[in-house]
């Protein structure tokens, strides 16, 4: 992003004015309010029971109590949900990226016979969807309901992402593939051995986006999963948040630890654990995503 250059050029025109001061103040307020939710769940996750049972902590915790995390890990349900989330995110993202990339490579060849028909089939899916109920009935009929595979196969392809891949592949120099073809390599091998290593930027960007989507999605676990053991952490959190399911976990934790624990603290500790992966990949995300955006990946 080189909008910075302009601001640099402009600053010589104006002395600092009241507008600048107000602007900085407003920006500070916006910056604070967008980072505050993360701070809020963090301070509440380390609050002791006496503090947390009366009201939530807004600024600084009076105590640093890590028992809430212990309680979360002692609770088999949340630990298991975390594992499901990791498994789901890694598998679904890997397969999505490889599969969509492979199809995109084939479609990026302008000389492909029937390419227009293939593209039309894809573009229609961007304009019309069957929607919630027809998709639900399809998943049921395919026998994927309440199986781990429901996180993987229905999420393994996306035509928007295909377009981003294809436009990137088209920008690669032709000579790359031609030399391989002379050596007699098949297209699939060219894709895995040459195209993927040369397209790390687009693969990384899309993997981050698809990964964050898979990690954050709670609705599939509500819609297609009945078995508690197959629920990802976001769905468990959804149930805690909207159906007040925390009290059961709280009781188990209190029995296990022999201490008073507030259900809210457990909720916040689980939230911190569920947010941690996002915060960890955030620096990479923000490095890549402007690039990704330029490639047209803004969709959500």
């Amino acid at each position: 992003m080189d909008s910075m250059g302009k601001a640099r050029g402009k600053s010589r025109y104006y002395p600092t004015s009241l507008f600048d001061i107000c602007n900085v103040a407003i920006m500070l307020l916006i910056g604070f309010s967008t980072i505050y939710p993360v701070w809020f769940i963090f301070v509440n996750s380390i609050a002791g029971a006496d503090e947390a049972l009366t009201t939530s902590v807004n600024w600084w915790p009076k105590t640093l109590y890590l028992g809430n995390y212990l309680a979360v890990f002692k609770d088999g349900g949340i630990a298991n949900a975390f594992l499901i989330s990791v498994l789901r995110t890694v598998t679904a993202t890997f397969i999505h990226i490889f599969f969509t990339g492979m199809v995109a490579y084939g479609l990026s060849k302008k000389y492909l016979a029937g390419r227009k028909i293939y593209m039309l089939i894809g573009i229609v899916t961007m304009l019309f969807q069957g929607g919630l109920i027809p998709t639900f009935l399809l998943i049921k009929n395919l026998g994927m309901y309440d199986r781990f595979i429901v996180y993987i196969i229905p999420a393994m392809f996306n035509f928007y992402n295909l377009i981003i891949f294809a436009s990137f592949f088209n920008s690669l120099p032709q000579s790359l593939e031609e030399s391989a073809k002379v050596d007699g390599a098949k297209e699939f091998l060219i894709f895995t051995r040459i195209i993927i290593p040369c397209s790390k930027a687009v693969f990384a960007t899309l993997a981050l986006f698809v990964g964050v989507y898979n990690w954050n999605d709670y609705f599939m676990g509500v819609m297609y999963i009945d078995n508690d053991k197959l629920r990802p952490i976001q769905t468990v959190l959804y149930k805690i948040v909207s159906e007040s399911a925390a009290s059961v976990i709280q009781q188990q934790a209190m029995e296990a630890l022999g201490k008073r624990i507030s259900p809210d603290s457990i909720k916040f500790a689980a939230m911190v654990i569920a947010t941690l992966p996002i915060v960890l990949v955030y620096p990479f995300l923000q490095k890549y995503f402007v690039k990704g955006l330029m490639m047209g990946s803004l969709k959500g």
């Binding site: 302009k6 297209e187 609705f219």
Partner: protein
Amino acid sequence: MDGMSLLKRIKQQRNLHFMVLPGMAWMLVFCYVPMIWLVISFKEYDITKPMWDSPWVGLFHFKEIFSDDRFWGVIKNTLGISFYKLIAAFPIPVIFALFLNELKNIKFKRTIQTISYLPHFISWAIFGGILLNWLSTTGLVNNIMVALNIQNERILYNSDPRYFWWIAVISDVWKELGWNAIIYLCAISGIDLNLYDAAHVDGAGRFKKMWHITVQSIRPTIAILFILAVSNVFNGSFEQIFVIRNSMNLPASETIDIFVYNMGISQGRFSYSTAVILLRSVLSLLFLLMANYASGKLTGESLF
């Protein structure tokens, strides 16, 4: 390759076709089959039987939808929330991008921008949980309101339908502000710097430049995003509302998506809820065409 028959070409390119066809098969199953399933809105679908065996009922479900008072409430909620999102959540990121662009300190600007889109990457399950905590009787919002003497007693915000639209719109602005601003910032970064220098020579002040150069230059981006936003008025943001709705705020929180879920998944009325989906798709398409036409007439920008 001239003169080669199609079949021969396909045979020669078979390795490429083998790479493309699995994607086509996937779309056939996961996109086109659900579209075919939409026909159950004209049938009385019974989940125990194959779809084609269920009897045709014509427009029965559509007649039922239109005579259902609850459905009109649903339409009101969907359009109401979308309308306020259009007048608040749509322009605020534009203004944010414009003001951010006026910051002089580049490091500060970058930091604010980086922080501002953090909430976008936090799931609605978590963000909704935080929100519900703040809106509870002992939560942050009540604490502030009571401390400032704006209200005397603590209010159960999320259980009162009167507040629901506010909550939905404000929390959406909060979560997506920075993210939605990125595309405008990208557009701003593409503006030719010489335009500003030329305007400066002509004696234009800061706000004149902001209006006549920055805003005018990103007008096509604004117009196209506006068309898309208008065509989305019937969609709402399902993941958001699904978390913060409850049985007490239902009169204000039941949007089309939630209604489809309640009718279809909770009550098992598959045909009825599919008819609602089909109706929504038709309305969305109409709105897209209308917004595209209006934008073309008013601003000269259109999608197609």
